[in-house]
């Protein structure tokens, strides 16, 4: 267990491991994404109230779910970096932020597009979209803080503290926004009861959620590889890699 932990701290080992994981995970991810999307868009019945526009759910919900989970992945990496001072945890944390921001962005844009046929407007201050927007700000805050520090090691520590503060705050933010929305909005716009989703719609949704988790993992590993090389550019193993002219 302990030796495995130490291995994770070793850049060349992590670089090679991520390479061999990506070799099979990346194709599987792409296949799952395509299969889930085709299934959801073409092979499911329409929602009886919203018609076909609900098909956006197959990207909106997985993106939102994984974007939120990504923040916690980032915070866990941050905690590891603060407690055990593991440099590779810094790298993982740094890699999470842009991916999370991109996923939040997907959730926001698709939510907005979904809103147009459903509510007749591009933007509604609905609880879920508002929470997503705040999550987007949180991600961008981490990126901005990282870029503001010149010493990248300290930048990672500062971001770790910030993301840990965020993990405590996110449940509070989500709950308070939920509560705020239920107070201010009439119940007439309420939709997707959530509890009574038909299995024929549920399975492709579950597939897409799994596929988005895999997508997050792939993007995380790819980002980490690029970051590892840059950080280790003066070491012998990176030089050998570059001289060999290949990246695996």
């Amino acid at each position: 267990m302990w030796s495995l932990f130490h291995k994770f701290g070793s850049p060349p080992w992590l670089y090679r491991l991520s390479g061999s994981i990506l070799r099979w995970l990346l194709p599987i991810t792409v296949i799952a994404l395509v299969a889930g999307a085709v299934w959801g868009v073409l092979f499911t019945p329409p929602d009886f109230r919203q018609g076909n526009s609900y098909r956006i759910i197959y990207i909106h919900v997985p993106a939102a779910v994984v974007a939120l989970a990504g923040y916690y992945v980032m915070a866990i990496a941050g905690a590891v970096s603060l407690i055990w001072r593991m440099k590779m945890a810094d790298v993982a944390m740094r890699a999470c932020a842009p991916i999370g921001a991109a996923l939040t962005f997907i959730a926001l844009v698709t939510g907005s597009i979904w809103g147009k046929p459903t509510w007749g407007t591009w933007w509604v201050w609905d609880a879920r979209i508002t929470s997503m927007l705040i999550l987007f700000f949180l991600y961008l805050g981490v990126v901005a803080l990282y870029e503001a520090y010149e010493n990248k090691e300290l930048a990672a520590k500062a971001c770790a503290v910030l993301s840990l503060v965020g993990t405590v705050n996110i449940p509070i933010i989500y709950k308070s926004v939920d509560w705020w929305y239920s107070l201010h909005q009439p119940a007439s716009i309420k939709f997707t009861g959530g509890t009574t989703i038909d299995p024929s719609m549920l399975y492709p949704l579950l597939l897409m959620i799994v596929a988005f988790y895999a997508l997050f993992t792939c993007a995380l590993l790819l980002n980490m590889r690029a970051e590892i090389l840059q950080r280790e550019q003066r070491t012998a193993w990176v030089r050998r890699l570059a001289a060999a002219g290949e990246s695996d």
Binding site: L82, I134, F137, L138, L140, G141, A144, L145, A148, Y149, E150, N151, L154, K157, A158, V161, L162, L164, V165, G166, V168, N169, I172, I173, K175, S176, V177, W179, W180, L183
Partner: protein
């Protein structure tokens, strides 16, 4: 040699911060002046109709309080960072948790506390019903304390950076949102004739959580900033 007790040390730090603040009375007045000026912008922007202003008053008062707190939070550690006092504080044997709490308490006493006390005045300017004023003042007193603690985290993380001013708002504003929701909610409840107690209780719960956890984050942020 007897190491000075933590409580005495903190009391000393609190007194030092208050003395430093009181010797520059203008700087205490600045956030209040800012508050008054921004309040004056709303009638100019929204029109002077008393009904409109009164309807928006809870939100306006809370948002402006939040902004003025944000502006003062930025400088909590700045001068001590620049003149090296912060280094000495980090090296002192007393727990940093209590020391940063003293910093934040001093900052709150000089800004949020005064703002809470003076808020009835501004509420009258916006035509808020007098019945809602106790809820406003008490929600501001509780809420600004949370804001000061959370703002302290942002200040600690950005104090070593040259362009900290804008950055701290980006980092901290999302964390301010729950406080804004429940703070203005308390005033709106009071306006609607409902009890404001539950909202104040929630703000109180947030304050407890912030007092328990924020000083750790502030301390960690200061150690990182001083390291740079």
């Amino acid at each position: 040699m007897r190491v000075a007790g933590s409580a005495a040390f903190c009391a000393r730090l609190l007194r030092r911060q208050l003395v430093l603040g009181l010797r520059r009375p203008v700087e205490i007045g600045n956030p209040l002046l800012f508050f008054a000026m921004v309040i004056a912008l709303f009638p100019l922007g929204l029109g002077p109709a008393p009904d409109t202003l009164a309807a928006f008053a809870p939100g306006i008062l809370w948002i402006v309080a939040l902004l003025s707190n944000l502006l003062t939070s930025e400088g909590v550690f700045r001068s001590d960072f620049e003149d090296g006092s912060l280094e000495q504080l980090l090296l002192a044997p007393q727990p940093l948790y209590l020391s940063v709490l003293a910093y934040v308490l001093a900052q709150w006493l000089l800004t949020g506390f005064l703002l809470g006390l003076l808020s009835p005045l501004f509420a009258l300017m916006l035509g808020l019903e007098t019945g809602a004023i106790p809820a406003l003042a008490s929600s501001l007193l509780l809420g600004t304390a949370v804001l000061s603690l959370v703002g302290g985290i942002g200040a600690a993380l950005t104090v070593g950076l040259r362009r900290g001013g804008m950055l701290i708002s980006l980092l901290i504003l999302p964390f301010y949102m729950p406080v804004l929701i429940f703070g203005s909610g308390a005033v709106q409840a009071a306006l609607a004739g409902a009890p404001a107690g539950p909202y104040l209780a929630l703000l109180g719960a947030m304050l407890c959580l912030a007092v328990a956890l924020a000083p750790f984050a502030i301390a960690a942020g200061l150690r990182i900033s001083v390291d740079a």
